[in-house]
């Protein structure tokens, strides 16, 4: 990337060597725009009062009361549910997506092209469009196997995993194709089975893309709302997205102080992971477009 930018920089330097002061000014403006709501939520989280009154001035008081108040709610239970669902889904998505990508990348079999094309087409239809049918399916399934019915986190995970192959296989497939097949062949000549090649060679060489897919899947599941809302009916099995929505859905009774504290805690891990791994995520985003 930097090599490609180099010739351009040479030409611009020839033309103008002025210090681009206005660009710094603009940058400060953009940063203010980008961070203002985040500063606001941070300020509201640490504010003394739990209501909205007085919260229009930033950082006037400092108190951890709002964070302590979270223990009186179901917040930590919801956070636990969210983590449980998101981590399981991320792990499952990676395992299934990687296995399918390995098969499409390394084996030549009848129906391979059709399979890839079908996946590409399915990928275009977001799973959540079928939420009515998913609701009805789980309603029926729950009468027979309650663990897979409505209000079951396991059922929600299964639903999310249903979308795993369509979303992730292509991202991984492209990456798997860049691992030279000579490595597999050498191992095969040495007597390795296809499973040994998969677990021992291919998965180890593709760890970066596995991490990206796991992370993207985690972030997407963490913030997913409509399916979680439809599937999880009782308050104690809600995820953060569903639960925190109910805190502020009614503007009159909204508890913004607690919400702000909860939002800060919920956003921190995602924010840190995202910024730490932004280089990888950006490549994944531009290839697969997960949100945006």
């Amino acid at each position: 990337m930097s090599q490609a930018a180099a010739p351009e920089s040479a030409t611009t330097l020839q033309r103008s060597t002025r210090w681009p002061g206005w660009k710094y000014l603009l940058a400060v403006g953009i940063v203010a725009y980008a961070t203002f709501p985040l500063l606001y939520v941070l300020s509201a989280a640490f504010a003394e009062s739990g209501t909205l009154t007085g919260s229009t001035s930033l950082f006037t008081s400092f108190s951890t009361k709002n964070f302590a108040a979270l223990s009186d709610t179901r917040y930590w239970q919801w956070a636990g549910n969210s983590l449980q669902v998101a981590i399981t889904t991320a792990a499952g998505s990676v395992l299934m997506g990687a296995a399918a990508a390995y098969a499409f990348s390394r084996f030549r079999f009848r129906g391979r092209r059709t399979g890839l094309t079908t996946l590409l087409v399915i990928q275009m239809f977001p799973q959540m469009l079928a939420f009515v049918a998913i609701f009805l399916l789980l309603l029926t399934l729950g009468e027979i196997v309650p663990a897979l019915g409505l209000n079951s986190k396991l059922a929600l995970i299964c639903v999310y995993l249903g979308g795993a192959l369509g979303t992730n296989t292509f991202l991984m497939y492209g990456f798997f194709n860049t691992i030279p097949t000579e490595l597999d062949e050498a191992a095969r000549i040495d007597g390795a089975t296809h499973a040994q090649i998969y677990w021992g060679i291919v998965l180890r060489l593709t760890t970066p893309i596995l991490a990206v897919v796991a992370l993207l899947s985690f972030i997407a599941t963490f913030g997913e709302f409509i399916l979680a809302r439809v599937v999880l009916t009782s308050e104690k099995s809600w995820t953060l997205a569903v639960g925190m929505f109910t805190w502020v859905s009614d503007q009159l009774n909204a508890n913004w102080g607690t919400f702000a504290a909860g939002a800060v805690i919920a956003a921190l891990p995602v924010l840190v992971l995202f910024l730490a791994l932004q280089k990888y995520i950006v490549s994944g985003l531009t290839a697969g477009s997960v949100k945006g």
Partner: protein, 543 residues
């Protein structure tokens, strides 16, 4: 892998043999343990599959029974056959994909052509049962009996009644039958072998149990028309009979008291001559009705047209605005003279790293119309009371504004990447030919950039077309339309309209209409995708 040195030696001595025959890797330690893991996993899968199949069998759900057996057989075949190597890797994801995406999409297609929804949720058979039970009345002429409440080891409840000195016992599934070995003191049943007799005091402190007892109906005999025993106080049982009688041969319901005959119609209800229908109906295929309903029904037609227009407007405008802002920022800051590029970049994309659902809720609070609460009005609009979320036009502007904040970082990242990978030699050549920066930008940079970002623009359009989270969290579709009874509003998009009328979150359910609208979105998204494929030829590159 521990076998590699050994087998490598052998292949060398064998010369060309690709697979050493004598020392099969399956017999070496690592693959042996792998085989054990596979056996254990397959045992678990089989146990689970058989459990589901068995549950389906006992519940009489033949479709699920068939589906689970077929899928289980497929799994066993794939993992124990030698000729299905690729499928061994694809199957796990494929199973989930088939059940939770492909099947649900197909099922959406089916439901769209039915009247599935409130009042029509059951199959006809179960609707008839439900009608008979719901219309049960106490038979005023039949005697009442002394009654005891029983519970077996599994916690299942039953009744014992005393009729002419003999004890008769039964529960919800098994009709009353004489129990000669039960002990009776006067008219009170004190012990029944195999059951615990509950004392009335047990009931008083346990509302859940009380409710179960009140709902329990024990059939008097195998013949449904004989009615069933129910109790209201827990000590006396009376015979209840349905006010309706179902005649299976004629397929009619008759009200025994008034003699009115209800006949089934093609809309899934029993209807009398005068047009009154019984409360419980069943689901039937109604053809294209759901599709025409969206355009013609007075409650939906007006809102539907407005929502359709707004959905397209929102998706197009939001992609355009965030793309332009992102491109502008990327263009300005793709400048090697600026120091600390990484830091700036990290700060610029902060909104994108913040979970979207939290951002939408946060902005909802910030846009509160009362300046004492809403910081936007307080700080930027001089404390004016501006109804950001309650005025139809302002609410739309607010949604576009919030989504701009949410998604410009994405386009900033994408455009920065695209700008940095532009061919430097072309631009250099243009500079040498005397083209100014504006000309270069217009004639080279922009076209190249659009080519490389076009697929992302289209998929972003598709994403925002269904951006349920943003709309639902920020405005929940509000402000409401005042000219319709449907719970829809000015800022609803198609997917949130589907959500509102589906009734999955409570309220009146219309799964049929909701599915029909989902299908419409499927079609729109599909058409957009075809365009995307044509444009990008991604398919050919990937395969």
């Amino acid at each position: 892998m521990s076998s590699s040195p050994l087998t490598a030696d052998e292949t060398r001595t064998d010369g060309r043999a690709p697979r050493p025959r004598r020392e099969s890797p399956a017999r070496t330690f690592t693959s042996m343990s792998g085989y054990v893991v596979k056996l254990v996993l397959m045992a678990l899968v089989n146990a689970l599959g058989l459990f589901i199949a068995w549950s389906a069998w006992t519940a009489g759900s033949w479709l699920l029974l068939g589906a689970s057996l077929v899928l289980l057989a497929a799994a066993d075949w794939v993992y124990f056959s030698r000729r299905t190597v690729p499928l061994k890797y694809i199957l796990p994801g494929l199973l989930f994909l088939l059940v939770f995406q492909v099947f649900t999409m197909a099922y959406t297609g089916y439901v769209a052509f039915t009247n599935y929804g409130s009042g029509h949720t059951l199959t006809k058979e179960r609707a008839i049962d439900a009608l008979l039970i719901q219309n049960e009345r106490r038979d005023p002429e039949a005697p009442s009996y002394p009654l005891a409440i029983l519970r077996d080891a599994d916690g299942q409840l039953g009744f014992a009644i005393v009729e002419d000195g003999t004890v008769r016992v039964g529960n919800a599934e098994t009709p009353l039958a004489a129990a000669p070995d039960a002990t009776v003191a006067g008219t009170r049943v004190t012990a029944v072998p195999g059951w615990d007799v509950l004392a009335l005091t047990d009931l008083v402190g346990d509302p859940a149990l009380l409710e179960q007892v009140a709902a329990l109906r024990v059939p008097v005999s195998e013949d449904d028309s004989a009615g069933s025993i129910r109790t209201q106080d827990g000590s006396r049982g009376a015979i209840y009979r349905s006010a309706l009688v179902y005649d299976a041969a004629a397929d009619t319901m008759t009200d025994v008291e008034s003699g009115v005959v209800y006949r089934p119609n093609d809309r899934g209800s029993f209807v009398a001559e005068d047009g009154t229908a019984l409360g419980v109906g069943w689901r039937v295929v109604v053809g294209l009705e759901n599709f025409t309903k969206a355009f013609t029904d007075s409650a939906y037609a007006g809102p539907f047209a407005k929502i359709l227009v707004w959905t397209f407007a929102f998706a197009i405008l939001t992609v355009l605005s965030s793309f332009l802002v992102g491109l502008l920022i990327a263009g300005v800051f793709n400048d090697p003279r600026i120091r600390g590029q990484k830091v700036w970049r990290t700060l610029f994309i902060l909104p994108y790293a913040f979970p979207a659902f939290l951002s939408a809720l946060l902005w909802k609070g910030m846009l509160h119309s009362n300046p004492d609460y809403g910081i936007i009005n307080q700080l930027f609009f001089f404390g004016q009371r501006i109804e950001w979320l309650d005025d139809p036009t302002l609410a739309k502007l607010a949604i576009l504004g919030v989504n701009l904040w949410l998604s410009y970082p994405y386009w900033f990242l994408v455009c920065t990447g695209a700008l940095q990978s532009l061919p430097g030699d072309v631009i250099e050549a243009a500079t040498i030919d005397g083209a100014g920066p504006v000309r270069i930008w217009r004639a080279i940079t922009l076209p190249l950039l659009l080519v490389s970002t076009a697929p992302l623009i289209i998929s972003s359009f598709a994403f925002n077309f269904n951006n349920f989270t943003l709309i639902y969290m920020l405005t929940n579709g509000r402000p409401r339309f005042t000219d319709t009874s449907a719970p829809l509003g000015h800022t609803d998009i198609l997917i949130s309209m589907v959500y509102q009328i589906s009734g999955v979150a409570g309220g009146r359910a219309d799964y049929g209409l909701a599915s029909a609208l989902s299908l419409l979105i499927f079609v729109i998204v599909g058409v957009v995708s075809v365009v995307a494929f044509r444009q990008t030829r991604k398919l050919e590159e990937m395969l």
